[in-house]
């Protein structure tokens, strides 16, 4: 796929019309107001999943903050 610069913040990306039409059908009666919005959402989800595959650890400080919040909510003594 080729892309071209549309503005400083966004770029235009070409996709097959067949996919565009399928997405148009799919977003009917949903909260997605456009195909662009749907594609942006899906790509963000994919990228987010990839990022979450990276090793993440809670530091002792993080864990203490979690416990503090759980205590304030009544989930921990």
């Amino acid at each position: 796929m080729n892309d071209e610069t549309e503005s400083n913040d966004t770029v235009a990306i070409k996709i097959p019309k067949e996919i565009y039409d399928k997405i148009s059908d799919r977003i009917k009666d949903t909260d997605f107001s456009s195909v662009d919005e749907y594609i942006k959402y899906v790509l963000q989800e994919v990228l987010s999943d990839d990022e979450s595959e990276d090793e993440e650890v809670l530091s002792e400080e993080d864990e203490e903050k979690v416990k503090e919040r759980l205590r304030s909510l009544g989930y921990l003594d």
Partner: protein, 190 residues
């Protein structure tokens, strides 16, 4: 409605992610659930918490003395952090996710606090969520269904049927489960 007697069934997710509503849906369908009334319904959960020991079973899990055998074949609620201490067993987990801003709003409201370090709190709880999801997905003794609270409210039938398929329970339980989905409870919408 009986579930497999050798399996512990768990509703989980970050605190304030819709776990009580899921417990209520399961309970309403006549599926066995374990909870007590140690934490009474309040304005934060007007239909009840559906928890054991006032929600403090995380302490028991950390101390490795929660009696899982007593709850086999039934659903219990263990919120996200508690899953970190889940011993080896046989589990089916329905894990709820929700818009993080709504979760933080709801936490602040319930704890009666104004979080001045909300950006940091968001980062930590998102990290906790990712770590726990990764852990439970990688364990051989856990089957998990990830479900989204916001999407349940928008598409209840579709999501309830995901639960029905996951639990391999009769489709006619759908009607009782859907009665629980109450958009009026959706007070922290973003």
């Amino acid at each position: 409605m009986n579930l497999e007697k050798d399996t512990n069934y768990i509703i989980s997710g970050l605190e304030r992610s819709g776990t009580s509503m899921l417990m209520q849906m399961i309970n309403n369908a006549g599926i066995l659930t374990s909870f007590d009334d140690s934490r009474k319904p309040d304005t934060n959960n007007p239909k009840g918490y559906f928890e054991l020991e006032g929600g403090k079973i995380i302490n028991r899990l950390m101390e490795k003395n929660f009696p899982f055998d007593e709850h086999k074949g039934k659903f219990i609620k263990i919120t996200c952090y508690g899953l970190k201490f889940l011993p080896t067993g046989k589990y089916k987990i329905i894990y709820s996710e929700r818009n993080i801003e709504e979760i933080l709003d709801s936490m602040e409201r319930m704890a009666k606090i104004k979080d001045d370090a909300r950006d940091e709190t968001r980062e930590i709880f998102l990290k906790l969520n990712n770590i726990i999801k990764k852990q439970i997905k990688s364990r051989d003794d856990i089957e998990v269904l990830f479900i989204n609270y916001n999407d349940i409210l928008k598409n209840p039938f579709e999501n309830i049927n995901k639960i029905i398929d996951f639990l391999e329970i009769p489709k006619n339980l759908e009607e009782e489960m859907i009665k629980v989905v109450d958009p009026s409870l959706y007070r922290q919408r973003r």
